[in-house]
Amino acid sequence: MKADLIIIGGGIVGTTIARELSKYKLQVLLVEKEADIGFGSTKANTGIIHAGYDDIPGTIKANLCVRGNTLWPQIAAELGIPFIRTGSWVVACKDEEANTILKLKRRGIMNNVPGLQIIDDRKQLLMLEPNISNKVLLALYAPTAGIISPYEAAIALAENAYHNGVQIQLETEVKDILLEKNAIVGIRTNRGLIETNSVINAAGIYSDEISAMCGINHFSITPVRGEYFVLDKNLNGYVRHILFPVPTPVSKGIVVSKTVAGNLIIGPNANNVNEKTDLATTKPGLNEVFEGAQKLVPGLASKRGMVITIFAGLRAESSIGDFIIEAYDSPRGFINVAGIKSPGLTAAPAIAEKVIQLLKNMDSDLNEKKNYNPSRESIQRTIDSLSTNQSWTNMPKDPNYGHMICRCEHVSEGEIVEAIQRGANTFDGIKFRTRAGMGRCQGGFCTPHLIRILSRELDLKAKSITKHGRFSSIVPYEVKESLMEER
C-alpha cells in the first residue's frame, strides 16, 4: 500500500487537516488506531469554542485560538453541524478576583479577541443568569465564545474529507516510522507496511511516542485528566452562557455550560495521571467538580439526581507548554502537530492552515482540485423535520425514518441505518452520530434494538457487536450456550 501523505490520528486535529488537504491533488491516508473517528481526547472535552483571552499573547496557542474561533462558524455551516455562539462569562465572586478579570480583558485585547466587555451591574448579571451565585460581583463577557459537539465535528470533517478523496483506515495502529537517509519512506502498522514520504503526527496524547519514532525527542506528553458530569435535558436553559470561574495558573477552572444538544455539562478538573489509558473517574475528582460548579451555580446542589452520565478525558500536556507545530530537516517529510491541549478544538481549523503553510514551505507542490466540495449533508433527523412543521412527504421514502428506536432522544431506525452506512460500526459510533443511547435512560431501552440493527446491517453475529471496538463485546454469549458446553 502507498500514499502521498499519511495523517496519524483521527481526532479533531487529524480530521481538520485531512479535510484541508482534500482540497489538493494529493493521495492522503488517515490512520487511526481506534474503531472510529474521534475516540481519543476529541470525544471527551468541554466542547467550547473559546474566545481566546486565556492564552498568553504571542504564543502559538493564543494566535491559533482566536483564528480558529473565526473559522468555525463557516465550517460548521458547511458540514451541517450545530455551532451555537452562546457567549462566555468569567465570573468573579470575590474582590480579589476582580483584578484577574481586568487582566484577562487586557490579555484578550492583545490577542485581538473582539467584543470583550465587563459587566459590573450585579442586577443585570442576575437577570441575565438567574441561577448564578448571588455573590457575583462582575463578569468578563466574551460574545464570540460558543459551543460545538466535538465528536460530531470530527466525524463530519472525516466524512467530508472522505468524499473529497481522503482514504481512512481505522483500527490501524502505527508501530514505527521507516526512515532512509534522513527521509521518511513509510510506516509500519498492525496491518502491515504503508509506503509514503510524508507523515503528519496528530496522535494526541501519543504524539510524543510517534515523534520519538523519528528521533525527535525534545518534548514529552503528560496526560492530564479532566472529569465531567452531564445532566438531563430538562435543565436546558438553566444557564445561558458558558460560565467560567476566575482561572488559576493551572486551569481555566470548572465550567458550567449547556451542550449543543441542550444538556448541562459540568467540568473539568485537572489531575496528572500516569497512564495514557487512565480514563477512570474518581470519587474525589467527581466531588471536586460538583463542588466547583456549585460555587458558580449553587442551585446545582439539588440537581445531583438529574445526572445522566459521568466521563473523563485526557489533555495532551507537553513539556514545552505551547502547541508544537513543526517540520524538520531531519527527517524530511515529518510534521509534528503535538501537545494540542485546550484550546485545541477551537484552534483546529487554524492548526490545519498552519500545517498547509508548512507543507507549502517544504517545496511539496500542492495543486488545488477543481471539484472539491466543502459541504456535507447531515443525517436527516425525523424529529427535526416534525418540529419545523415540514410534512412527512418531505421525509425520505424509507419508512424506517418513522420507526422510533431511541425513546429519550427520539432517534429513528432510518437515522441509525444511515449512521451505519456512513461508517458507524460500534455502539459508541452510533451514539456519537445519532445520539441514540445518549439520553436520560442511557441506552436502557434501545440497546437490544441497536444490537439487532447493527448485526443486520453489518452482517455480524450479535456477539461481534462491540461498545467501542477491540474486546468490548456487549452480549458475548447466547442463552443455553454455556449449559450446552457442560454436557
Binding site: F229, V230, N234, T277, L279, A280, T281, K283, G285, R304, G305, V307, I308, T309, I310, F311, I383, L386, W392, M395, P399, N400, Y401, G402, H403, M404, R407, C408, H410, E413, R440, C441, Q442, G443, G444, F445, T447, P448, I451, R452, A462, K463, T466, K467, H468, G469, R470, F471, S472, S473, I474, V475, P476, Y477, E478, V479, K480, E481, S482, L483
Partner: protein, 411 residues
C-alpha cells in the same frame, strides 16, 4: 386529524386494562398507542411466575398474565397501533405520534389515559466512579436481552441493588449457567419483595451484602473488576472495607423512575415524591380529562394493583366521553407524614370508597397506620418494598380538607 374518544398511551398492564374498562363502560372509539412491537409492556419479558395472585387468584408468569388482557382487547375489538411512539400531547388533547406506516399521526381525543410505565435509573444517577467498559447493564435491559433476545450478557455477575428485578435476574443468571458473585445493597434491608429474597437468593446461596456499595469500576474494553465497600449510617463507604470482585458484568437494579416526559410537556402537576402525576380517586390528573395509571403514577411492586388502577382510569375516561363523569366539589388532600414516603391518590372526595396505596420509608413491625386523627389500621409488618393498600370507606372520613397518613409503633 383523526378523532377518537379515549386515547391510551402505552399498551402495558395499565394501558390494556384501561382500554378494556373504557370500552366496557361505553366509549366506542378507544385507541391504544404502543411504541413496542407487541402489546403487553414490561410483562412480556418477565418470564418468572408471581403475577396475578390477587387479581386472578392464580400464580402466572408475566406473558401468561398479560395475554389474558390482550385476548380481551381482541375480543372487544379495541383498536391499537404498535411501533407507534407518542411524541407530544397538548392540554386540548391533541396528540402527535409517529410510526413507519402512517408517518406522523395527528389525533384529537376526548379523554386521554397516560400509561407509559417507568424506566430504570442509569449508572450516572449514582455517579459510580471508574471506567466505562462494556458489561454494565440495568437489570431490565439484561432481562430483555436474556429472555426476549436470547443473549447471555456475561458469566461472572455482580448485581448492585436488591430491588425485585435485580433479585429475579440473580436467579435467571444462575439458571443460565452464569455465576452471581454477590448482590450488593446500600440499605440495611433488601429492596425487593421478601418472597423474592428467599426464592432468588437464599435458595441459590447467592451472597447478599447489605449496607455495601460499589466504589469503583475497572476494565477498559469489557468490565474486569468492581470494588465493594461497607457503608456507615450516612451511606458513606468506610475506608479499609474495600474488596475487589473479579467479574465481567455489573447489573444495576437501583430504582425505577416513572416515565413522565410527556406529562411534563403537557404541564400537568408532578408529585416529587412519587415522580408521577398527582391523581385523585378517579386517577384524574391536574388536567381535566387526562388520566394516569400504573407505573407512570408511582412504581408498583405487584401488577395486580397496576391493573386495578388502569381499570379506574379507563372507566372514568369513558365517563368523560359519555358525559357521566362525577365531579365532586369536595377535595381532601392526603399527605405523607411520619415513616411514609407517599400516598396515592393524593386527592379524594370522601364521597365514596377508595383504595389508598401507601409506601413506607423504613421497615417496621407491629405498626398502626393512622389516617387523620381518628382512623387506625393495624399491620404486623411494613416494608418499603411492599406497598400497603388500604380501603377507606366514605363514612370513615371525618376531616374535610386534609388528611395526614403516618405509620407508627402500635401503642
Amino acid at each position: 386529524m383523526q378523532n377518537i374518544d379515549v386515547a391510551i398511551i402505552g399498551g402495558g398492564a395499565a394501558g390494556l386494562s384501561a382500554a378494556i374498562e373504557a370500552k366496557k363502560t361505553g366509549a366506542e372509539n378507544v385507541l391504544v398507542l404502543e411504541r413496542g412491537e407487541e402489546l403487553g409492556g414490561i410483562l412480556q419479558q418477565c418470564i418468572h411466575t408471581g403475577f396475578g395472585l390477587h387479581y386472578f387468584k392464580e400464580n402466572l408468569n408475566g406473558p401468561e398474565y398479560i395475554s389474558r388482557f390482550i385476548k380481551t382487547v381482541h375480543e372487544l375489538g379495541i383498536d391499537y397501533k404498535l411501533n407507534t411512539m407518542v411524541l407530544q400531547i397538548s392540554p386540548n388533547k391533541k396528540l402527535l405520534a409517529m410510526n413507519s406506516v402512517d408517518g406522523p399521526l395527528r389525533l384529537q381525543a376526548k379523554a386521554i389515559v397516560l400509561a407509559m410505565g417507568c424506566r430504570e435509573k442509569p449508572r450516572g444517577a449514582l455517579a459510580i466512579p471508574g471506567t466505562r467498559p462494556a458489561g454494565i447493564f440495568t437489570a431490565g435491559t439484561a432481562q430483555r436481552l436474556m429472555d426476549v433476545e436470547g443473549y447471555l450478557v456475561g458469566k461472572k455477575i455482580v448485581i448492585l441493588g436488591s430491588g425485585d428485578i435485580g433479585l429475579i435476574m440473580a436467579r435467571r443468571f444462575v439458571m443460565e449457567g452464569a455465576k452471581v458473585e454477590a448482590v450488593v445493597e446500600l440499605m440495611p434491608y433488601p429492596g425487593g419483595l421478601h418472597r423474592n429474597v428467599v426464592q432468588c437468593l437464599e435458595d441459590f446461596q447467592i451472597p447478599l451484602l447489605l449496607q455495601h456499595t460499589i466504589t469503583n469500576i475497572q476494565g477498559r474494553d469489557r468490565l474486569k473488576r468492581v470494588t465493594t465497600a461497607k457503608v456507615d449510617k450516612r451511606f458513606t463507604p468506610i475506608p479499609g472495607t474495600e474488596k475487589n470482585i473479579e467479574c465481567d458484568t455489573l447489573i444495576l437494579s437501583v430504582g425505577l423512575i416513572p416515565e413522565n416526559e410527556l406529562s411534563r410537556g403537557l404541564g400537568i402537576l408532578i408529585d416529587t415524591k412519587t415522580g408521577g402525576p398527582f391523581v385523585d380517586e378517579h386517577m384524574e390528573t391536574s388536567e381535566r380529562g387526562l388520566f394516569a395509571c400504573g407505573n407512570v403514577v408511582h412504581v408498583h411492586d405487584l401488577v395486580d394493583h397496576v391493573t386495578w388502577s388502569g381499570e379506574v382510569a379507563g372507566k372514568n375516561a369513558a365517563r368523560v366521553v359519555l358525559d357521566t363523569f362525577p365531579r365532586y366539589k369536595e377535595r381532601i388532600s392526603l399527605s405523607a407524614g411520619r415513616n411514609v414516603q407517599y400516598v396515592v391518590p393524593q386527592f379524594i372526595s370522601g364521597k365514596k370508597p377508595v383504595n389508598l396505596s401507601i409506601r413506607v420509608k423504613r421497615p417496621a413491625r407491629r405498626v398502626e397506620i393512622n389516617i387523620g386523627n381518628e382512623l387506625a389500621f393495624h399491620k404486623p409488618v411494613v416494608r418499603p418494598s411492599e406497598m400497603v393498600v388500604l380501603t377507606l370507606r366514605e363514612n370513615q372520613i371525618m376531616e374535610k380538607t386534609k388528611l395526614t397518613v403516618i405509620v407508627r409503633k402500635r401503642r
